[in-house]
Symmetry: C2
Subunit: 325 residues, 2 copies
Amino acid sequence: MATIKDVAERVGVSVTTVSRVLNNRGYLSENLKRRVYEAMRELNYQPNELARSLFRKKSNIIGLIIPDISHPFFGEIARYVEYYAYKNKYKILLCNSQLNRSKEQEYLNMLKASQVDGIIMGSHTLDTKEFTKIDLPLVTLDRQLSESIPYVSADHYKGGVLAAKLLIRKGCRKIAHISGNLKLHLLAKTRYDGFMDTVIREKIPHVVVETDLNGFKYDQYGKIVENLFRDHPDIDGVFASSDVIAAQVLKECRRLGKEVPKDVKVVGFDGIKLGEYITPGLTTIRQPIKEIAKTSVQLLIDQINGKEVQRENILPVKLVEKETT
Amino acid sequence: MATIKDVAERVGVSVTTVSRVLNNRGYLSENLKRRVYEAMRELNYQPNELARSLFRKKSNIIGLIIPDISHPFFGEIARYVEYYAYKNKYKILLCNSQLNRSKEQEYLNMLKASQVDGIIMGSHTLDTKEFTKIDLPLVTLDRQLSESIPYVSADHYKGGVLAAKLLIRKGCRKIAHISGNLKLHLLAKTRYDGFMDTVIREKIPHVVVETDLNGFKYDQYGKIVENLFRDHPDIDGVFASSDVIAAQVLKECRRLGKEVPKDVKVVGFDGIKLGEYITPGLTTIRQPIKEIAKTSVQLLIDQINGKEVQRENILPVKLVEKETT
DNA sequence: AACCATATGTCAAGCGGTTAATATATGTGT
DNA sequence: ACACATATATTAACCGCTTGACATATGGTT
């Protein structure tokens, strides 16, 4: 690969001059610029970003840690994170933690060693201590981690309320909520709270299944739903904690001969494309995925630029009614 | 951030010595190693990978260019690419081209400037010339680009054959194939060939819709399917070029009052998780996504290490029969 | 006493850039 | 004639780390 020295030699100037053209500083004649750019093109030259980053102490790379890029929610998140990062001249280093503690830790170290300018965390199984040790601009996304780290998420509480209210309004007499891990995942807890506050206020019988599945073993949800309906055959409404799980519920309902929405009504959570692909169309609580991604990137870049940012960034959810309610 | 110099000072040795411990070269006493590692821990030191990469002329970064990470197929691909890259101590720089020519070109330049060790291309809208200009280890994935660049893909021809055969065996009398862009996408063409050779050999009436949709505008498929059934009401079998499109077909069938699989049988292509989430369960031609990713990574690393690699890497597909046939 | 493996040190150059300091030459307005 | 903006060059230091060359010291073999 051609270096700045090759360019300088070809033009017949010093590397300093070429560097000045590259960075557009000082006095530069049009003629000189033209000659330099021409030589760069001829040599197919690209400045070595490694060397630049080393000197500038800025890599223009953002680390993105998520549990699983193949999960549709994180796929859509990643798509928009990439979109907004690119717009701001940042690159994305992709890290899939698979919710594996040691992999998450290794990735955290790796990102630091790679001199990323900041990290967006959509996964965390580690203690807060590990994050403060990293000492890098940080934003958590769809996760609430500690008192000090800014986070971006949808309004899960409101989501729980909306889902419960809808099911009640549609005439459900006994509602199940399939929740995430309530201890580990603070946002799952607030969603649960929204749901509970509502069903209790309205005096609607309800049952909560806390799936302790640490991860994305979707095939196991069939069993969970089966048991749920076995123990509570009178359930006529289900609020699932994600659209993917809601899809599993629909599948299981069909297998058990329960018609949706006649016998059982189902509300999902996320608002991913999947909800549009399946039949019947899934009623869901839509998270503003694009805005979550946008805000996360913006908050991170603000931190990188030394600005103070707001800790709590909760974006509105929206009920999207389709055919399962 | 602590540097190697800080570590050296704390231990009371020279940076050369610390570097030697870091890289495990020359004679090193256990005692020295212990002291150095201890100081590193105390200072929370991580070697600066930028500096190392610059010196070594090796970044251990692989660029991954795909059209859209939120498309389930590429999401699953990316998940496994990341998995195998990580296993081999490589990091992934994620690039979403959105099938946008200029973004793809910019990313290509950016990756080169970033000194990635190689590129996996799952997207290409550019001419071969642009790629040869890059002069970097390269593998195309699910794409066939030129005579010289190694590619990894599923056996699309066989896929076309299997799908057609299945639909015929199930008694379909008129089969539609919704294909991709046959000029742009050589693999879509071979899949089409497999389909055509089979229906022609078996003398089955057929119709092909070539969707010129350059991208992933799925909502538009509803219209396409509607028109298809309007023009050919007697179609009783559909082979879609992806599972996502198959899902749209199912949705449209339902809207038009056509029962699947009774009135119309549907076969998808890809074998992504989506096929399991939807009801009825989608019959599809499964691409070995994990193996495609694994082979791509391996082929790229082999090239990085200066090995000669095979140009053509075609992996077997498998018919997965569910409820839509 | 000579030799060698072991263990550690110093020095300096190099990876590919950026930048500050300083020098020099030309044209231009006053 | 002087000041000043414009345009370019040279030199050297620096970013953080690696490496080769070379020096030195210790302990064990032969």
